[in-house]
């Protein structure tokens, strides 16, 4: 187990190193200079040079790469070119919006998907199943920002139950904070729920055909009892894998939803930073997200290995 863990750890470190090179390379190659962006069209050459020196942009790219990586190793993510605040603090501030939003959306999507998937599997081929499958097809096909606009139109503009966007901040209280994240969370959750419900249904249908389900029925459990006691539990494994993937998607991929609801989250930070060529912010945020995904995978690998000893001998 220890050897296996060390091997996995080594591959984690290599992945991170490769990711850092790719991220830095791709972002630095994009045309555009942060100093010219900030100073605009009337800037004089000496002003530009002064600002570039102030921002530390006057050294070679290689030097900048090592400054950046070296800083991250000691926990220093650099200082934003435009905002002039430490990137780590900006990320921490934005995570307070993005992380709860992702969790909220994930919870909603699970709450919708589980009953829908189980219901559909239990009524396979019947009108109930067809209705759920039709709805999920729609949920996958329609982009989340369209849902977002419809939600705003109905619940913010017409019914006035929610604000059209923005985040009130957790300091105003947990429930008011949650309230202001509700529409974006629903918009994010619906397409995810559609995917999850389909996975839940097909995974459950696979299980229902297994020998142990027949045994359970033979022991005298009713169809429903067998479904709940043995089916759902075993069907959860693929579903949990999907949930894990969805979480990293929700955390990193809510850029459009954060734009539509003007939420001060990570996605919007990256979006603004890219157009302002605030390279250090883009690089550090993307690196952090890569780090999060790779680390989660690493932990999942370890967990699989702990559960299933056969995996340890492989790789």
């Amino acid at each position: 187990m220890l050897r296996y863990s060390l091997k996995r750890l080594l591959s984690l470190i290599i992945s991170l190193a490769v990711a850092s090179v790719v991220i830095f390379g791709v972002i630095e190659v994009a045309p555009g200079d942060p100093a010219s962006f900030m100073l605009g069209v009337n800037a004089q050459p000496d002003t530009l040079a002064a600002l570039r020196a102030e921002l530390g942009l006057d050294v070679s790219k290689l030097q900048r790469y090592f400054n950046w990586v070296g800083g991250m190793l000691t926990g220093d993510f650099g200082t934003s070119y435009t905002y002039r605040t430490p990137v780590s603090q900006m990320i921490a501030d934005r995570l307070w919006v993005s992380l709860p939003l992702a969790l909220y959306a994930l919870t909603l999507s699970t709450l919708i998907a589980f009953p829908a998937g189980i219901y559909a599997a239990a009524r396979r081929g019947k009108p109930g199943d067809l209705a759920v499958m039709g709805a999920t097809q729609l949920g996958i096909a329609v982009p989340n920002f369209w849902f977002a606009m419809m939600l705003v139109l109905i619940f913010a503009i017409n019914l006035r139950w929610f604000n059209a966007g923005g985040f009130v901040g957790w300091e105003t209280g947990f429930w008011t904070g949650l309230h202001s994240l509700t529409l974006p969370a629903i918009a994010l959750a619906l397409p995810q729920a559609a995917i999850l419900a389909r996975v839940m249904r097909s995974s459950l249908l696979d299980i229902l055909g297994e020998d142990f389900m027949r045994t359970a029925r033979a022991k005298g459990l009713s169809r429903r009892q067998a479904l709940w006691r043995h089916g759902v539990r075993n069907a959860l494994i693929p579903v949990l894998t999907i949930i894990g993937l969805q979480f990293s998607f929700l955390l990193a991929g809510s850029i459009i939803i954060e734009q539509v609801f003007y939420l001060p989250g990570l996605g919007r930070l990256v979006f603004q930073a890219i157009s302002a060529r605030d390279l250090i912010v883009v690089e550090s945020v993307v690196m952090l997200l890569v780090f999060a995904v790779i680390t989660v995978n690493f932990l999942v690998d370890l967990a699989y290995a702990a559960v299933d000893p056969r995996l340890r001998s492989r790789t």
Partner: protein, 495 residues
């Protein structure tokens, strides 16, 4: 010495402000949305207009200031004297003005601010505004003398820019995140990515504003802007980004729509050094190929004033030269043929993100195609535009709104991205810069406008409109935008 009296005008203004203030006893807070978030809050070291929108006249003040109608009036300088040869300005500062940290604003601060903008490693985005300053001298705590290398008729105008506001050496260190000025509002809080809050400054030297607090919110998405306004989450949207939605607000009694003018001359910039645009006949053909009204209607939903030269139509010195480049496709084709391009030409059209460029570009490309000019549309971000078009001059055509006030002087810079190199125009600008007589200046400005129109330097399209949406009860908003500013001191709620 000639004395310029400005006191009477200032007191008339003060009276007006008092009247406004006494009317408003209703609501005293306001939420104003704008599209872009400022990168930081120091107007003296960045070009971002969003900075000025939040801080200009609210947090920071200069020696002079712009009013909503574009006029320049005394700010922290209560009066000034100009020497006979026009090179020495002696400013008398207002008494009893303090910065938000309690320190007094005096001549030393003025000297500090101007010197800071002038120094070698200054990060001022508009350093050229101060280029003519030879020295700044403190006479006494309330008197400061600025000596110019040559007379400059624009000097008082230049000092009104947000880039010329007075800052204090004591608070300059963290000015970017904690701005300390002399204005009627103090900096409250900045939730990055979300909002900035300003509070009324009880120690303000002038009249107390009607508003107690103001919150600026940042909503970049046009659909979100519409929703936020409709849901009444915000009270005002400065520069509303979706002109197509304005009729809906106009029809709704809960809202008012303010249509004004900006300093933005929107032009089809042409690379004057790149063949075939180095041939004036080709540039003239471009000008006649364009149907301005169709662009204004199609891209801006009718908002915008056609222009025939690079000058703001609301300026008294404006000359209407639109007839010089009237829409005439046949003439355009004939000109192209005459220049040897009867089979048409191919070029690129670089479009930055604003909708005037992206939407306008599609229409212009179609209009140019009609006369045989095939323009390949290339969509770029601002950072790319600055790099390849502005700096690299690697473009044929591009569409940009030049938003700096009174910026016809850019045509005197041969290395400016559209590369117009005319000795006549450069001489004319030199004369203008040293002319202080208003009438003479108007005449010279007229000549300048005619010259760049006759040379067909760029395709002159339209003056960008300022489109504001506000709740019906908000009064005192600037209709026009002589500079990027949301002047909170004049805003109040009606009963």
């Amino acid at each position: 010495m000639e004395m310029q009296s400005v006191r009477s005008f200032a007191s008339a203004l003060a009276l007006g402000a008092t009247l406004l203030a006494s009317q408003a006893m209703a609501k005293s807070d306001i939420t104003i949305a704008m599209q872009l978030e400022p990168p930081h809050l120091d107007p003296t070291s960045a070009a971002a207009q969003a900075i000025d929108s939040v801080v200009y006249t609210n947090i920071f003040e200069g020696l002079t200031r712009f009013m909503g109608d574009g006029s320049v009036v005394p700010g922290l300088a209560e009066s000034w004297e100009i020497s006979g040869d026009g090179t020495q300005y002696t400013f008398k500062l207002r008494e009893g003005v303090t910065f938000h940290d309690g320190t007094a604003m005096d001549a030393e601060d003025v000297k500090f601010s101007l010197d800071r903008a002038l120094t070698e490693d200054s990060a001022n985005a508009q350093k050229a505004l101060f280029a003519g300053i030879e020295s700044v001298e403190v006479i006494d705590p309330l008197t400061v003398k600025v000596t110019l290398a040559a007379p400059n008729g624009n000097f008082l105008f230049n000092l009104a820019w947000g880039d010329a506001v007075i800052v204090a050496s004591e608070s300059i260190g963290d000015i970017k995140t904690n701005p300390v000025g002399t204005g009627a509002f103090t900096f409250g809080e900045w939730v990055q990515g979300d909002s900035i809050t300003l509070n009324r400054n009880p120690e303000y030297w002038g009249d107390q504003p009607a508003l107690e607090t103001a919150t600026f919110k940042f909503i970049s998405d046009p659909t979100a802007a519409f929703a936020a306004m409709m849901a009444e989450d915000i009270d005002v949207f400065d520069n509303f980004p979706a002109p197509e939605n304005l009729p809906q607000f106009e029809a709704d009694p809960r809202f008012q729509v303010l249509v004004g003018s900006t300093e933005g001359e929107t032009i089809l910039s042409t690379n004057n050094k790149q063949p075939p645009f180095d041939d004036i006949r080709v540039r003239q053909a471009l000008a006649h190929a364009i149907d301005r009204q169709a662009i204004i209607d199609g891209a801006m939903f009718g908002y915008g004033t056609p222009i025939g030269t690079h000058f703001a139509p609301h300026n008294p010195a404006y000359v209407d030269l639109t007839g010089n480049s009237a829409h005439d496709p046949e003439k355009a084709k004939a000109l192209l043929a005459e220049a040897g391009f009867a089979d048409g030409i191919e070029t690129t059209l670089h479009l930055p993100p604003p909708s005037y460029a992206r939407r306008g570009g599609e229409i212009i490309a179609a209009q140019l195609a009609e006369v045989g000019i095939k323009a390949e549309i290339i969509n770029v971000e601002w950072a790319q535009w600055l790099e390849s078009v502005f700096k690299g001059k690697d473009f044929g055509l591009t569409i940009v709104s030049h938003t700096e006030p009174m910026d016809i002087g850019i045509y005197a810079r041969p290395d400016y991205y559209f590369q117009y190199d005319s000795l006549d125009f450069q001489t004319l600008m030199d004369t203008l810069n040293t002319t202080t007589d208003p009438e003479e200046r108007s005449k010279l400005l007229g000549e300048a406008q005619r010259l760049i129109a006759a040379d067909y330097v760029n395709g002159y399209l339209f003056q960008l409109a300022k489109l504001g949406v506000a709740k019906a009860g908000v009064q005192g908003l600037w209709e026009n935008a002589p500079t990027a500013a949301i002047d909170l001191t004049a805003i109040s709620w009606s009963e």
